[in-house]
Amino acid sequence: MHFSSLEGRTDLSCVFCGAAGLGIQTVEDLLARVIVNEGLYVFGSREYMSRVRGGSNSTEIRISSSPVDALVDRIDLLFALSAGVRENIRERITPDTVIFGDRDELKEEADELGGTFVNIPLQDIAKEVGGKIYSNSVAAGFLFGILGLGLDGAREFFEQRFADKKPEVVEKNMKAARTGFDQGEALVEKKGLLDGYTRLKEKESMILSGTDAVGLGALAGGCTFAAAYPMSPSTGVLTFLASHAEECGVAVEQVEDELAAINMAVGAAYAGGRSMVTTSGGGFALMTEGVSLAGVVESPVVIHLAQRPGPATGMATRTEQGDLLHALFSSHGEFPKAIYAPGTLESAFKITQKAFATAWSYHTPVIILTDQYFVNSFRNLSPETFEFLPELPEIEKTGPNYRRYEDTPDGVSPYGIPGWGEGIVGGDSHEHDEEGHVYEDFHLRTRMQDKRMRKLEGMKREALPPTLIGPEKYETLVICWGSTLPIVREALKNLGRADTALLAYEQVWPLHSSTEEYLRKASRTVMVEGNSTAQFARLIRCETGVALSGSVLKYSGLQFSVEEVEKRLTEFLSGKEGSR
């Protein structure tokens, strides 16, 4: 009845919104697991306020027959769990949106939202079961009902999640889910919304987030030391590593401030620890002196920088791509660095390993730029898609005449550590001689500066090439970097223009040498990026001289949606939108 617009579709977008503290996270996890176990694909993305309880958050969950990994505006099913549905959700409601909620809770809002409203007496059912806290399970059950899924998956999930609670917790949740389920099932008259969706034979059953992918990549890359100070949205990686510290043999420490974090990381690397830090913009700003230290002592440190909108505290739980030039140019003095910006979970896993490899090949800081959208989004895939790179070589013993900063043709000196071999191992933040002792000589200075900068040549040769997606012969070239990759890719697929290709960067420094050629082949170029000054477009101009024809920018705190990119690219292509 209500669902006519969903007929024939194999891609459903459900959004849950409500106050923090209502257990939406549990519904998310439950839903994702059951859908994946059904042999379907799931993608989820959360946006939330910087508070622990109350406020108004939302999660989008896409369910599909084919792989999905991008945010859409479209809301097919909206679960409004508390009153006060916010503007950013309201703007996305169309007449086709079916809205579920408890009229007693939502009051007049129920009718103002647009779409089709369906009442679920969440509170009453929950109260009957045992209290307000069960309302999320009612909603989940209800959704299973309309999706046409059973409740076995839910039971399994609850049993696992509440394994250390009393058994009645599982039962009460099941009771709540069951009551919701019956109501939902009734609504679709036994033909669930997912009925037409084809199922996979080989389930792609690993569900993980950007945080997980970076964390796993770090462990696979050989990380043995992590120091961090909590800061949204980067804290997840710290928590991930801390929770696997023992089994993976990683020393993990929460420190007093970000200055300690980077200086510990550099210290650990000096003694042979493969170290990383994880932070966000403001924390990275505090680390910049330490990054400069890593540059001059030639220290392999990996820095995960999860971006959020600035300046300063900005929007602590929101997303932006505003720290690219900050990552590249902050720190005093000049030294080589590499900056990666993974666009997918697979590449986050691979690139985080690669970051360790680059750091340890060139002995210099390497940055992984993600953002709040990226680290908090999740999807399912098969573990086989995760590629393990070769392990890093062992550190060699030093000989008696070891010189840490031996001047070599490629600028890379042999990496020795104290306590392993017969040599003295020095490290110095001043300009220094080959042994690492401070020595004020102007020729030496020039020579050592040249030595360090030479490493950038090798790093350039090893830079990841951008990925061209779409026709080899293009008129228009759309460019993006980092987390927007799947979104722009899907938008271009939808637009289906034979003359337009996407060039997606997952390493933003040093730029791959193919850049200029790609650009010169296009008659029009447009950058899609999440900041207000088109930073990557500027960087490209700085490196190639090419001024892009335009840019599609966003800096509201939210990630681009597929539809928004489609719309704004269409406008651009029809000449309506220039750079903004």
Partner: protein, 286 residues
């Protein structure tokens, strides 16, 4: 082993003639010799300042990092390879000013490192501004009418922060200071040795003479008595020298790290834990 093994032949020592730092270096090298250590066992870590130049004037592994951050470097070096003997050296500005936050929080962690602070109550390298330990009224080109901030009390602060070994020495007393350094290095856990050091170029208030007149070496002191230590260090001049407080048995930072619970290898000996990674991935499949 060679008795000159900690000397650095040909080093151009950049301190002013007569500076107390020479004496401390002497104490330090003697201590290392008497402990029977080799330069390959020891990492001297420092920040920036005159005191922090120490590792460039001797032979051992060394890491000379940023102003104020050596305790973070040192903590991590020791955590990465607990078999190294790690000494963090710096001045009063380095350790208590720029590095003040790390001073407090490093102590809380109790890493098994020795922290030597050459306390000349002035910023030497930057040519004579007040330091956190400068005395009220001390005049400098910046504190033109004299220091007005309450002086920082490093030994008391260390006690309050939970230091398991707190000592104070005097550059002028080479032998005794050497003993303190030895004891600090033998201590398992964080050990502070704050060392009074005359700066002959910029501090004409706190001179060799002043330090010897305003200090005394503790005798028959119960090193395990926290309250006593606290009251000693809170008293006005003359200031007690010696091991003020010592507590054994508190776990060290490395001991609290889960990374070392099962696996005792230093970090550089570890391979990427790929089996564990595969297990975690499996866990994400259900």
């Amino acid at each position: 082993m060679d008795a000159n093994r900690f000397d650095l032949p040909g080093a151009d020592i950049a301190w002013c003639p007569g500076c107390g730092d020479f004496r401390i270096l002497e104490s330090l090298k003697k201590a290392l010799l008497e402990l029977g250590l080799s330069p390959l066992d020891v990492v001297v870590v420092s920040g920036i300042g005159q005191a922090a130049k120490t590792p460039h004037f001797m032979t051992s592994h060394f890491f000379n990092g940023l102003h104020g951050r050596s305790l973070s470097n040192a903590t991590a070096i020791k955590a990465a390879n607990p078999s190294l003997k790690v000494i963090a050296v710096g001045g009063d500005g380095d350790m208590y000013g720029e590095g003040g936050n790390h001073f407090t929080h490093t102590i809380r962690r109790n890493p098994d490192i020795t922290n030597l602070v050459y306390n000349n109550m002035v910023y030497g390298l930057t040519k004579g501004q007040a330091s956190p330990t400068s005395q009220i009224g001390f005049k400098t080109p910046v504190q033109v009418e004299g220091v007005s901030s309450h002086p920082f009390n490093p030994v008391a602060s260390a006690l309050i922060a939970g230091a398991t070994f707190v000592a104070r020495g005097n550059a002028g007393d080479v032998e005794q200071t050497k003993e303190l350094i030895k004891r600090a290095m033998e201590h398992k856990g964080y050990a502070l040795v704050d060392i009074f050091q005359p700066c002959v170029s910029f501090n004409n208030l706190n001179t060799y003479k002043w330090f010897s007149e305003n200090t005394y070496w503790l005798e028959d002191h119960d090193e395990g008595d926290f309250e006593k230590a606290l009251s000693l260090v809170m008293a006005e001049a003359p200031f007690p020298l010696g091991v003020l407080y010592r507590e054994e048995g508190r776990p060290t930072f490395a001991e609290t790290l889960l990374a070392y619970r099962e696996n005792k290898e230093p970090l550089f000996r570890r391979k990427a834990s790929r089996n564990a990674v595969r297990k975690i991935m499996e866990g994400m499949c259900s």
